[in-house]
Assembly symmetry: C2
Homo-oligomer: 167 residues x 2
């Protein structure tokens, strides 16, 4: 389920992009600069909204190591809401370019992380202990920053589309 799990992480980035529309509406209605939300944070020693988005994007694209692909490098230079949207869109476009078949050998991959020199993770641990927790952590922190500041988003915006069937 590597491909399916990563596809769901990619869907979470699309959900996040929708929250940006609501953030923009809110800033318009309250007549404040949307840039205030881009630099918003939950605690003085926590990272701001733009960083949370960049980091969520990085953990989604880094899942491509599991497919044997080299993820594209993206500079962390976003400041405006349009730049944040573009970062999400190029990450989603890359993630969606990796096919299910390319993840066939994911369990046999060994993935290194730049911030843990000399260490690596097996494919399954990388997915379960690194990709999922980090993607959801940063997306949830982005959500929390917007929500704490009054943006009108709720749990169903967090979850996004759900493949319901009849009971």
């Amino acid at each position: 389920m590597y491909y399916q799990t990563i596809s769901q992480c990619t869907q979470m980035l699309k959900n996040l992009e929708n929250w940006l529309d609501k953030a923009e509406e809110y800033a318009g209605a309250k007549t404040f600069d949307i840039g205030v939300l881009m630099t918003g944070r939950l605690a003085p020693d926590m990272k701001p909204f733009v960083y949370q988005v960049q980091s969520a994007c990085d953990y989604v694209k880094a899942a491509a190591w599991l497919s044997g692909q080299v993820p594209p490098k993206h500079q962390d230079n976003e400041q405006t809401i349009d730049e944040v949207r573009a970062r999400i869109q190029k990450t989603v476009a890359f993630a969606e370019s990796v096919t299910e078949a390319q993840y066939a050998g994911a369990a046999q991959q060994k993935v290194s992380l730049s911030w843990a020199p000399g260490k690596a993770l097996g494919g399954e641990d990388y997915l379960l202990q690194m990709t999922i927790p980090n993607v959801y952590f940063h997306i949830a922190m982005a959500y929390a920053i917007l929500r704490h500041n009054g943006v009108d988003i709720g749990k169903m915006d967090f979850l996004g589309p759900i493949n319901w069937i009849d009971a």
Copy 2:
């Protein structure tokens, strides 16, 4: 990977239990009642800390539907930090009582939710679109409430144990 994914969600509850120790230390050092954090919230129309823990626990135990088990009912009556710890512990104990073999038919399960009458989800969608996003959402909101209030926890506390191997 149903069992492995749900085991990682269970591990996240154990991580959360560790944050409670740090919250208690912080309350002791600052000489405030730990109960203040139990009712803390990120926005007036968001749920408080205790609810976030209850809800994370509920989505972990509800994953047992995928194994064909009926999850135990737990009353949402926790108020104190010790009651919150007990809620986590009984949820972890139940989740860990379900074996890997019991998840063999998970993909063929059809799971209903009390808040979505008439609807259901197939096993894979239930895991990817309901269990994972909700468990991580509520655990991340619990983290955010503590962090926003100054508790000394960081990303590595969120991630918990990682199965590193040599690079």
